[in-house]
Amino acid sequence: MSRLEAKKPSLCKSEPLTTERVRTTLSVFKRIVTSCYGPSGRLKQLHNGFGGYVCTTSQSSALLSHLLVTHPILKILTTSIQNHVSSFSDCGLFTAILCCNLIENVQRLDLTPTTVIRLNKHLLSLCISYLKSETCGCRIPVDFGSTQILLCFVRSVLTSKPACMLTRKETEHVSALILRAFLLTIPENAEGHIVLGKSLIVPLKGQRVIDSTVLPGILIEMSEVQLMRLLPIKKSTALKVALFCTTLSGDISDTGEGTVVVSYGVSLENAALDQLLNLGRQLISDHVDLVLCQKVIHPSLKQFLNMHRIIAIDRIGVTLMEPLTKMTGTQPIGSLGSISPNSYGSVKDVCTAKFGSKHFFHLIPNEATICSLLLCNRNDTAWDELKLTCQTALHVLQLTLKEPWALLGGGCTETHLAAYIRHKTHNDPESILKDDECTQTELQLIAEAFCSALESVVGSLEHDGGEILTDMKYGHLWSVQADSPCVANWPDLLSQCGCGLYNSQEELNWSFLRSTRRPFVPQTCLPHEAVGSASNLTLDCLTAKLSGLQVAVETANLILDLSYVIEDKN
């Protein structure tokens, strides 16, 4: 008999978003990410049940890479956030929360996915074009001539990561270091196409944060014994460097596909060593001062070189090869004979250094675009968090160099944007809808869902039971502490808005963020003097935030568009 029922090893589920399990999963995920958000965010400790590494973090990149997500829909969400974070480093949590909020808000409405997706897209392009426009009231130009605003940038990144466990003083110190490290990577005589150098982060765990420092050039870690054996070089001119990428251990490498027969009594090792010593002689005659090798140097060769006052350092490793090539201007040598004189590079000086318990060999460059950031923190987990934060800050600065604009942070951009969209959809819905098939009512509904999603992102900045308000002139965010008297004199309770641009002494009207407000026009076109006077602003990276916004809406649209989930159970 023929079988009548189709058997499907893959699990196929229709309308996945409507199931209770998905809703619970999404809300659990949302709770995790919202509780991490902002300077007062709660930390998460991640470890697996079998012991091992424990990670304490509030950063999206660390959090998501440690979370094991199995549900396919959640996987879409986490993968797109991870992809965003790996390209822009910043705004991961913002993206995650916004995406969850959008999905949640839209599900409450009884609209077809087509309408929702279409309108979400319209609203997104409205946001993007506003944030990119000249009239935008929540972005400021970044002047690379002054360190003030750049420091604000770095400080904003550092303060938003509470798991680094930094005191105020330490934050100031690390901010300054990061900025210095960044500035060292910018070539001095930059014409046309700029190629940035690299900041290498050198770990120094168990030290005080205040001991962290930035040095130009490259630090190579060595044991004390090795370091003592190196003879000091006294030379007034620059040192000549040879950098080998091939092994100098005397191995006989690739001999081809056929067989090689060695007659009895023939010692290939000796032959190979002879060859190496010949190479050593060539290096001596070329007046090389420093030999660096990615792989292993034969001990005899090493000794031979040392005898001739050449410093030989091996096992550099592949990661340092590129910065070394760049810094010394060498051509990595892959040959054991006849080295072209152009392949040699140079360094200004070398010295030994001791930081904490570690010993380093320090190569000081002639022209510095490579620097080493010696980063200290008290324990492993805090160090890991600090390292990630430093990388984020450096990346944010690089992105800002490409697009010299900053968005006001501290939640002010989000509330301002929400106010702008509310105003736009109420007063000029035709321009958004254009020739679409959607109605104005649908637009109002979706716009409300969109704006409240944005506002609840900043709502999650508050973790201590405080209230969040917004003013009716700029559309900025103001937070008031918990257990303050109810209807009091607002200007006394509120001191500064979230980004620090405005203070409460102005004549402003406030309203609770959660309450409904009549749409108003938030003030556009930021006055220049306002920016100049403020010294302690909270700033966000424009590029990262724009992409985060786009990724959040695109991902939410994708998830809302799902009609089936086919799970491969193989």
């Binding site: 196929c12 879409i76 056929g258 067989t259 000796n270 032959a271 695109e554 994708l558 089936y564």
Partner: protein, 723 residues
């Protein structure tokens, strides 16, 4: 008894399977379709609206389902489109067939079908239906396409002779295509991207060869970048290789490149040989010689202005070093596809290091406009400005998206679009026999195709039926043999026709000349006119008895009666062919072709048109099989527009659209479509034939025998599974 039960069961089982599949695919068909999320066993997620992908992702176990999926994928391999429509159409066809068998229980069934149904029930042989279907597909469909439908066709080309394409019509075609393939947020953007790509890669004289190249090497021509919004996707002039330079030396001006497929450095011994080392000095000299030789080769390349070395294998450190010293950039470890793509674009053969050096030029070098690293989201790629020697101007597509699954979807859709265009740019040959018999006043069409394509499917079908592991499908031997004989007969026909055709000058018919159409129609219905004037479209026909030969765009050959009997005598297995012999009428072989670039407006136009003409055809048929098959197919065709118009209401709902279309056809007015966008007729036609072939295969299956092969699972085996 057993066999008939099983046969009836096979339609029922197939219908059940098809309905399950239909439920899944119909949610993502058309512009209103939604996405499906698939997870791979590796844990990655994939978004898809591609019917073929979804069907594969389901990992179906049911033998009939697997057969359907195989048919779909072989159809997709050819055309790149129509998997979802395939399932919907197949499901409706099965429903139609199933209804016939149940008609006795259903008093509401129309009388006509009922009588036929009883007839079929009595025969109890699905085999007959399957043969009738095959007959329809091979002999009747082409005629209807050519004689009735062709007047509605539009051409995508602004000038049919030169096959030039204007952007706006390509946009219409692509937008309609991507509507059904990517998320509704992105279809406009992706279709614009594809349009740009198309016009950037094409030179004015490039034709179908470009589509073939892009189709074959699509994977190498695009780069996926995750973490960026989709709108950052773009087209880059030149070729982007997903590799980094092993050594990069900035160069400008006259850049030449070479391709190598083995290590440049000579080695001690080659495969199969032996190298004997007798002394240490010998070893050192050999190593020295190798070094010198490598250096000399690289110097020689440098002297010939070669600044780029592309290698399909990993080169030793020595080669990399000397390349760097001599200012030659190196890209290693390219896949064989990448190498063959580059070779096809620039027409360059690999460089073999010469044994002896002379100052003569290296023959196998090519000029490159530029070669530089390209950084996309902090990952480095090699960017080559190749100078094309063929009609394809190299460009790469950079596809961005928040996640890999979405990029793959877009990549898939773009690839499919190229497959679709590749088909669209081909002429489709149609040829058929008209036969007029004045004695009994019937006229029937016998069409066979000379492309030979349609015969491939049954062969591969036999293979695929036996493929499922654990479940074995055993076919009735008799039937198999008959099918094979049948096939043989047809291949004879094909050969004879091809031979004949070579002697005849051949011209491509132009599009939709109404006059020609009328002549054709008159011709076929010549004898019908007098007898059946009641037919409602009959007034359209003029009593015009022009001789066949007056039409320049068609070729007809009148066969001697002897030849006809000769051919049909072999095909005595075919009931239809047997009748031919008895009637002894005169036949004329028509051979025509659907020119490349035929399109119709989207929104089920093709289906409604074919439905209309098939019904008309069925009314004129006196053979019960033909009528039955035509009716079933005609009704099943409407299933597709029904799904497409599912969400529409009021004036745009399906019944309204259908009535409007039929009215327009009856009054000979042009059809008005509510949607913009075009679709390829070739694609639709191929879909139809593929579905019919699939259905034929399903119907020929008599018994499905499940055999549990896995010896480790003996304890799981139930006694009833052993038949």
């Amino acid at each position: 008894m057993l066999s008939s039960m099983a046969a009836a069961g096979s339609v029922k089982a197939a219908l059940q399977v098809a309905e399950v599949l239909e439920a899944i695919v119909s949610c993502c068909v058309g512009p209103e379709g939604r996405q499906v999320l698939c997870t791979k066993p590796t844990g990655e997620v994939l978004l898809s609206r591609n019917g073929g992908r979804l069907l594969e992702a389901l990992h179906l176990e049911h033998p009939i389902a697997r057969m359907i999926v195989d048919c779909v994928s072989s159809h997709l391999k050819k055309t790149g489109d129509g998997a979802k429509t395939f399932i919907i159409f197949l499901c409706h066809l099965l429903r139609g067939l199933h209804a016939i068998t149940d008609s006795e229980k259903d008093p509401l069934m129309c009388e006509n079908i009922q009588t036929h149904g009883r007839h079929w029930k009595n025969c109890s042989q699905w085999k007959c239906i399957s043969q009738a279907l095959l007959t329809f597909q091979t002999q009747i469909l082409d005629g209807i396409m050519d004689q009735y439908l062709s007047r509605h066709f539009l051409s995508i080309f602004s000038s049919a002779k030169e096959k030039t394409l204007c952007r706006s019509s390509l946009e219409l075609l692509l937008e309609a295509y991507f509507c059904g393939r990517v998320g509704r947020n992105n279809h406009k953007f992706i279709s614009q991207l594809m349009c740009d790509y198309f016009f950037k890669c094409m030179t004015c004289e490039s034709g179908i060869g470009v589509f073939e190249l892009v189709d074959d090497y699509f994977v190498e021509l695009n780069v996926g970048v995750t973490g960026l919004p989709v709108s950052d996707s773009r087209i880059i002039a030149g070729l982007v290789l997903q590799k980094d330079f092993s050594v990069y030396c900035p160069a400008d001006g006259d850049i030449r490149m070479v391709i190598v497929t083995e290590t440049v450095q000579p080695l001690f011994s080659t495969s199969g040989s032996e190298f004997i080392l007798n002394s240490e000095a010998q070893f050192q000299t050999s190593q020295f010689w190798i070094m010198e030789k490598t250096q000399a080769i690289m110097k020689h390349l440098h002297s010939q202005n070669v600044k780029l070395l592309i290698s399909s294998v990993k080169q030793p450190d020595l080669v990399i070093y000397y390349a760097g010293v001599n200012g030659i950039s190196v890209v290693e470890c390219l896949s064989s596809e990448e190498v063959s793509l580059i070779r096809r674009i620039i027409g360059l053969s690999p460089f073999v290091p010469p044994q002896a050096f002379s100052q003569c030029e290296i023959p196998n070098t090519a000029l490159v406009k530029f070669c530089k690293p390209l950084i996309l989201r902090s990952k480095r790629y090699v960017h080559l400005g190749l100078i094309s020697t063929c009609a394809f101007i190299p460009h790469s597509i950079v596809l961005c998206g928040p996640l890999q699954g979405l990029i793959e979807q877009h990549e898939d859709a773009l690839h499919g679009a190229f497959k679709m265009l590749r088909q669209l740019f081909k002429d489709l040959d149609l040829s058929y026999i008209t036969q007029t018999n004045d004695q009994n006043g019937t006229s029937s069409l016998f069409i066979y195709k000379n492309s030979g394509e349609s015969y491939q499917a049954p062969d591969t079908g036999n293979g695929s039926i036996q493929r499922p592991y654990q479940d074995t499908v055993v076919e009735n031997k008799d039937e198999l043999e008959k099918t094979q004989t049948y096939l043989k007969v047809h291949s004879n026909l094909v050969i004879s026709d091809v031979e004949l055709e070579t002697y005849i000058p051949y011209s491509t018919p132009t599009l939709t000349p109404t006059d020609t159409f009328q002549t054709v129609e008159t011709l076929t219905c010549l004898s019908l006119e007098r007898n059946r004037l009641t037919d409602y479209y009959e007034p359209l026909l003029k009593n015009n008895s022009t001789a066949y030969s007056t039409r320049g765009n068609r070729i007809e050959i009148s066969y001697e009666n002897l030849q006809v009997t000769n051919i049909t005598g072999k095909g005595s297995m075919l009931p239809v062919s047997c009748k031919l012999q008895n009637m002894g009428t005169s036949q004329s072989y028509l051979s025509s072709s659907m020119p490349a670039g035929c399109v119709l407006p989207v929104g089920g136009n093709f289906e409604i048109l074919l439905h209309y003409y098939l019904l008309n055809y069925a009314k004129k048929c006196h053979q019960s099989e033909e009528t039955m098959v035509s009716m079933i197919i005609a009704n099943a065709l409407l299933g597709i527009p029904k799904v497409l118009y599912k969400s529409k209401t009021g004036k745009y709902s399906f019944p309204h659209t259908y009535i409007r279309a039929v009215h327009a056809l009856q009054t000979n007015q042009p059809l008005v479509s509510s949607q913009t966008g075009l679709e390829s007729v070739t694609g639709k036609y191929q879909l139809l034939t593929s579905v019919l072939q699939c259905l034929t295969k399903i119907l020929t299956i008599d018994v499905v025998i499940t055999v549990k092969r896995d010896p480790q699972k003996v304890h799981n085996q139930d006694s009833e599974d052993e038949l």
